[in-house]
């Protein structure tokens, strides 16, 4: 029986890997997800065959509670709120690994096992509270600004020292379980302290990193209970999160250390000087320009998600295409609050995925674009990143919307964005500002076409 369980885990591991491989293309991705779900089912059934199980009641109750909550959340969540949901799920994964690591505590364990118990409790704990804070910032239940205070570094260093000391004591004296409780407490505290100094616009990096940690916590729990499927699945998730974290950091031209340890905007002074004047445009005039355009590019940002404007954007796209115009979308890797956020919103509105172009694909085409419509994006289209060495975002790769013949910027008002960086794009000769709520402005354009 034991061998059967172990072989089932090997098959499950192979299916997890195949499932991820199929995520390589939108055409096969759905089947890939089903393969992965099949792998999970197989692993769970195999685990239920374990002869150490004498009663199924608590397993079933736990599973029923989790399944109902999970299914309800999956069905009810709005696509704009995906970052919050992923953040919460990262946290649940972390807490589950913490509990398993804790339960694996056996005073007769080897030092290696004790170390892995500490690791699963530590990573799981900080993932849990860190994710709750990330959730709070994303859903704006707590302020999304970076929270810094005097002596923060000192406090954090003390927590790290405390974790190391109590972890060492636990490995020396495993019979004295209070050391493990101290590690748990400090891990939970550290998760909070690690995420509060990070601002809302940096959340794509944070949730990618916590995604990775939730996998690594499962991996550590796998070591603690000698289970290879936990190690395989956990490290796949860990690798995934780390790659996404790297992509996000590269897209902001910042190092991970810089994102984690310095509240944004407090580092450099902005020396961008803007010349020219703001030129507002009315919906009616914007319509005349669009009506004559033969090539339009749309560059969405977090503002599109906030205004829930994706469906009306799709309507505009269809009308433009009916008018004989080519329409493409340019998606910056850090547009939105999580990797791929804009793509999911536009897919929800039925925009075909071939028309969602990455930054490197859309930039070479920009000079032949008649009108570029920027919806709720700011830093990712700021030419200061290319031109002005004094700008805090200098060096960050951007979508070169200013190279289009005409740029429409849809914006609520002239109040500066999250990072408070001046954006010379708004003052360029070929830029027109369409002020107001993005959903209403685009709705106005759609009505003009009808």
């Amino acid at each position: 029986m034991d061998n059967l369980i172990q072989y089932s885990y090997i098959v499950a591991a192979a299916l997890f890997i195949l499932g991820l491989k199929k995520l390589g293309s939108p055409a096969t991705a759905r089947r890939g997800n089903m393969l992965s779900a099949g792998a999970m089912l197989l692993a769970i059934v195999a685990a239920l065959l374990d002869q150490g199980i004498v009663e199924y009641q608590w397993i079933l109750i736990g599973f029923a509670v989790g399944a109902v909550i999970g299914a309800a959340a999956a069905r009810l969540v709005e696509m704009t709120s995906m970052p919050e949901m992923v953040a919460l799920f990262n946290g649940f994964g972390g807490l589950a690994s913490l509990l398993v690591g804790w339960a694996a505590l056996d005073t007769g364990a080897t030092t290696f096992t004790l170390i892995t118990i500490v690791l699963s409790v530590l990573i799981g704990g900080l993932t849990f509270t860190g994710s709750l804070i990330a959730y709070g910032k994303l859903s704006e239940t707590i302020g999304s600004a970076a929270l810094m205070f005097k002596g923060q570094q000192v406090v954090n260093s003390l927590i790290v020292l405390g974790v190391v000391a109590s972890a060492v004591m636990f490995c020396i004296e495993p019979a004295n379980s209070q050391w493990l409780y101290i590690v748990i407490g400090l891990a939970l505290l550290f998760g909070i302290m690690a995420v509060i100094p990070i601002g809302g616009a940096d959340m794509p990096v944070v949730i990618s990193l916590l995604n990775s940690y939730s996998g690594l916590a499962a991996c550590a729990a796998g070591f603690a209970i000698n289970n290879n499927i936990l190690i395989v699945a956990g490290s796949l998730v860990g690798a995934s999160g780390i790659i996404l974290t790297q992509i996000m950091c590269k897209a902001m031209n910042r190092s991970l250390t810089n994102v984690l340890f310095s509240g944004f905007g407090s580092v450099t002074d902005d020396t961008t000087e803007v010349e020219g004047e703001i030129k507002p445009i009315s919906v009616e005039d914007a319509y005349y320009v669009l009506e004559a355009a033969s090539n339009v590019a749309i560059v969405p940002g977090y503002g599109m998600a906030v205004a829930q404007a994706q469906h009306v954007v799709r309507e505009l796209q269809e009308l433009l295409e009916k008018n004989g115009c080519e329409v493409n979308f340019g998606i910056h890797p850090v547009a939105g609050r999580m990797p791929g956020h804009m793509n999911v919103l536009l897919a929800e509105a039925d925009v075909p995925y071939e028309q969602l172009l990455e930054m490197d694909e859309i930039n070479p085409r920009m000079e032949s674009v008649d009108v570029c419509i920027v919806i709720g994006a700011n830093d990712v289209v700021n030419p200061a990143a290319r031109e002005n060495e004094g700008s805090p975002i200098y060096g960050m790769p951007i979508i070169n919307v200013d190279q289009a013949r005409t740029v429409f910027v849809l914006k609520r008002s002239m109040a500066s964005g999250f990072a408070g960086i001046a954006n010379p794009l708004f003052y360029k000769d070929n830029t027109r500002m369409l002020f107001g709520d993005a959903k209403e402005s685009i709705g106005g354009l759609v009505r003009e076409f009808d």
Binding site: I17, L23, G24, D50, I59, G93, W102, S235, D350
Partner: protein, 95 residues
């Protein structure tokens, strides 16, 4: 006799390299479903929690295990369902 830990560490090392190869091939348009799918996979902890929740001892490990089964099941069920819901939205032109 080589210790089990050595084999487990070997598995870890190989899977991390494999994971890097697999994930770099995922296009950026699918990064959100990738993350929610990763949420679901990280629910694999349920497999470890099951034997604890069923040990019949009514001890601390039993309760911790039951709690972990519940939490990890949220991830497994919620993660796969929401990923499927998202992936169903990605359509080719004309379909």
């Amino acid at each position: 006799m080589i210790a089990t830990e050595v084999f487990l560490t070997l598995i870890l090392m190989l899977t991390i390299f494999l994971g890097f190869e697999l994930i770099t091939k995922v296009p950026s348009t699918l990064h959100t479903p990738l993350m929610s799918g990763a949420n679901a996979i990280s629910g694999i902890t349920v497999v470890g929690a099951i034997s604890l929740a069923g040990n019949g001892q009514q001890d601390l490990a039993n309760w911790l295990g039951a709690g972990a089964v519940a939490l990890a099941s949220i991830n497994v069920v919620g993660g796969y369902l929401v990923t499927d819901r998202m992936l169903a939205m990605f359509k080719k032109k004309g379909s």
